[in-house]
């Protein structure tokens, strides 16, 4: 299944919404993951759900550098291009 960049954005915000308990449409590109209350377990859940739903592995060092929703969506988009 090919997932386009816009879908990746939806997937990222949808998952962040599920984990944080906030509405997905209230999460914007500049939102920081720490502002969503993501602790280490939240980040682990994020990594696993993203990999399950996009079908792509996300290396730990790449996820470590993610601070904002925008960072996350760029990461997913770049992995889409390189796939």
């Amino acid at each position: 299944m090919i997932i386009q960049a816009t879908d990746q954005q939806t997937v990222a915000r949808q998952i962040l919404g599920e984990i944080s308990g906030r509405a997905a449409d209230s999460i914007i590109a500049s939102t920081r993951l720490s502002d969503l209350g993501l602790d280490s377990l939240g980040r682990l859940t994020l990594a696993v759900l993203l990999e399950e739903r996009t079908g792509r592995p996300i290396p730990d060092h790449e996820l470590l550098s993610v601070q904002t929703v925008d960072d996350l969506e760029r990461l997913l988009t770049s992995s889409e291009r390189s796939a």
Partner: protein, 205 residues
């Protein structure tokens, strides 16, 4: 001493405490003021430093070397590992050392002491291993690293690395004080600031 374990003998003016039900081999070297609680077992070739605590039912075997001020809580298994000072193992942690575990060798005989190659775990200064975690043979856990509850760690963890899960993944960084660092590598609790290094993090000077 700050990093490398230099265990001492039990012949000091301040001897270790060993519970009556614990089995500590006479040849094991146990440091001053170390306490070994009920039903724990320490084998003959083991060295343990000063001011340590071994909880109930801990087994330390296979020439493990344990530094000073180490806490090993109930039910842990430490097989051949090197634990630097200030390490904490929460209850039920297992540190393994056989990368090719078999009961028998290819000719069908029970494997003996010389039938396998040891690859023990190394846990560096101040690191904490969460309850019921398992560390695979040969893995090194970095200084002040933090392994989350129930993790299975198959790869080295950098200094101050925060890892969790099965297989364990690095999800952030942990402070000396045990809290998770924020995005700026600063501890929200104690305010310490860190810098990225090739081997993990170190305190900013």
């Amino acid at each position: 001493m700050t990093e490398k374990p230099t265990p001492t003998t039990s012949r000091t003016s301040d001897p270790p405490f060993i519970a009556e039900s614990a089995e500590v081999a006479p040849a094991a070297r146990i440091g001053a003021r170390t306490r070994i609680w009920h039903h724990s077992q320490v084998d003959a070739d083991v060295r343990i430093g000063e001011d340590c605590v071994l909880g109930k039912g801990v087994h330390v075997a296979s020439a493990a070397v344990i530094g000073n001020l180490v806490k090993i809580q109930d039910g842990c298994g430490v097989f051949g590992a090197t634990l630097e000072d200030g390490v904490m193992l929460a209850p039920g942690v297992y540190l393994l050392e056989d990368p090719a575990p078999r009961a028998v060798n290819p000719s069908g005989h029970l494997k003996g002491r010389n039938d396998w190659r040891r690859e023990p775990v190394t846990i560096r200064y101040g690191a904490t291993i969460g309850a019921n975690s398992v560390i695979a043979p040969g893995v090194t856990i970095g200084r002040y690293a933090l392994v989350g509850i129930g993790s299975v760690v198959g790869h080295d963890v950098p200094d101050h690395g925060l890892v969790m899960g099965n297989p364990a993944r690095q999800l952030g960084w942990s402070c000396m004080c045990g809290h998770r660092l924020n995005d700026n590598l600063t501890c929200p609790t104690c305010g310490r600031l860190y810098h990225q290094r090739p081997y993990g993090l170190s305190l900013a000077t």
